[in-house]
Symmetry: C2
Subunit: 333 residues, 2 copies
């Protein structure tokens, strides 16, 4: 009989996740019922939205205290009593922070099989071709609607979503400027991903550098951060600019500090629009194929930061808020 | 030779306007040059945006220290060397806080002649048919785009703009709920203006009352206030709701305190759009005629709060932030 190791939410974190907020439990896996399948989790997707799930009801209910922490993941089917899944199938979906995931015959968020494509690694379906890439895709094409020649600024630009959003901006002919927290990340954005400029917000003169990098102002803010970073970007916005509001991660681990200059939304007649990937379920395949095409054409590059060990997942989540990852952050189980 | 009394900005207010922030000066009026006209100011329009003009460059430059304070007003031409204006003409425009206004032949914001319409008082062109009414009109028709059966919430609903916005919501078939700061204002909104409900935000249980008044949630927030009031309204918004961001007056006289729950823009996929009346100059006549039609049909009611005396203007401005006015606030010169 197999034993499942699971990470359960023990208490709602204050600020960053602390060791006592999670508990690693072990329990035997039950025998499969008709219609169920069992998969071994290979990689877990670490996403800022997990910090929201720990805290409050939002677009999904908060994870209950004592439950296995919700997360995305990539798993391989090892046993199946469900005709849809066979042994060896790779799947992505809400695995949760655990070693094995039991696939139920009916689920609100069903697992998706990972297609086998030459030169495309399975884990790309957790990143550039997965939820974070799809978030960037719909945020850019449905909310930001970039026009050739416009200036796009992306915050948390070296993250999994930001890095894809910026590259989509380049594909649409924008001047793209990234904001990130280390010089190395900035160099990656300009030298490898083709951003026109990147600014390290930890440098004291970064506001001046952002201004210099956006000589024609900013038409689109693909906003992942909020707080002071968003304040600075709003100051650079052109009249009638658009803000695609994807995340506000600066406020997920502490009391939200800003943006404080919301009056600029009026003065500059901005349109600020929030969006969630959940609304585009019917178009995931279409979007993944478009992203895959760009990937194969060399227009969409990606990087992964991989942390080893299920038990490291809580610490890995913190890296999303302290700038520890470049590109997609994964935990290898 | 006539003497002009003028209120000049002496220092940029901290918080509410203090007596030392303005100076009343007297100076003789110059002789008219060819192309100029002179008008006697009858009424001054008191608007929250004046507090912004005192403080910072925004959509208009900040008023310079020592300059006559900018404001709208209604004036009567008393002398003219300009063929467009003749003695006795009533005009509205940026008169400034003074007894007489010199009309220059060329101006970026030209004065408009007030049409003479039966049963319509001239001062209505400072209110429901003037800038505040037009702001409500374009905010509702171009930004909020109300649909029959939707629920609209208006903050500062008993103010000059809010009261018109709510009535437009009724004309478009919405359920309209106002937020105001006294029971008398709330009673005016429901009993005279036809709002479906009104909630006094100074009552401790106002959040519950707002919830009860919006049983189907809120589709449109016509937002004039910001801060905690907006926080509460955002909590009631439906998925894919719209916020027409007209003003954030709670932050004009003190450090902006919220809204703090901007994450709801993402969770609820809201669209928040700022707008300014300046963008609709070419359509002012069309809009004023539409508003005038509603006025004549009895669908658009208004009220004025009138303060007597030019020297009272700075105190009057404060009333906009302390809840001292119902409907349009005017200073009779």
């Amino acid at each position: 009989m197999l034993t499942n190791r699971q990470i359960r939410l023990q208490s709602r974190p204050k600020g960053l996740c602390a060791p006592g907020d999670f508990q690693l439990t072990e329990s035997p896996l039950p025998e499969l019922q008709e219609g169920q399948a069992l998969a071994k989790v290979k990689y877990l997707s670490m996403d800022p939205t997990m910090r929201v799930w720990m805290a409050v009801d939002s677009y999904l209910p908060a994870v209950a205290i004592g439950d296995v922490m919700r997360s995305g993941g990539l798993a391989e089917v090892i046993e199946s009593r469900n005709a849809l899944f066979k042994k060896g199938d790779k799947i992505v979906g809400l695995t949760g922070l655990q070693e094995y995931v039991l696939i139920e015959p009916q689920s609100k968020y069903p697992f998706q099989k990972v297609p086998s494509i030459p030169f495309v690694s399975d884990t790309l379906f957790l990143g550039a071709l997965g939820m974070t890439g799809l978030t960037a895709y719909f945020g850019m094409t449905e909310i930001a609607k970039p026009q050739k020649g416009e200036t796009l600024v992306v915050s948390a630009a070296a993250g999994a979503t930001g890095s894809v959003a910026g590259q989509i901006g380049k594909i649409f002919g924008c001047r793209v400027v990234g904001i990130a927290g280390t010089d190395e990340k900035c160099k990656w954005l300009t030298d490898e991903l083709g951003f026109d400029a990147a600014v390290n917000y930890k440098h004291p003169d970064w506001k001046e550098k952002l201004a210099a990098a956006t000589p024609n102002g900013v038409d689109i803010d693909f906003e992942n951060v909020g707080g002071e970073v968003m304040d600075v970007v709003l100051n650079r916005m052109n009249l009638h600019g658009r803000v695609a509001l994807c995340g506000l991660i600066s406020g997920y681990t502490n009391e939200a500090a800003g943006p404080t200059n919301l009056g600029l939304i009026i003065v500059k007649r901005l349109k600020v629009e929030g969006f969630l990937i959940l609304d585009y379920g019917a178009r995931f395949t279409e979007a993944a194929m478009e992203l895959g095409k760009w990937k194969m054409m060399g227009k969409l590059k990606d990087r992964q930061t991989i942390v080893e060990g299920l038990e490291k997942a809580p610490e890995a989540i913190n890296m999303l808020f302290t700038g520890g990852n470049t590109g997609k952050l994964l935990v290898k189980v």
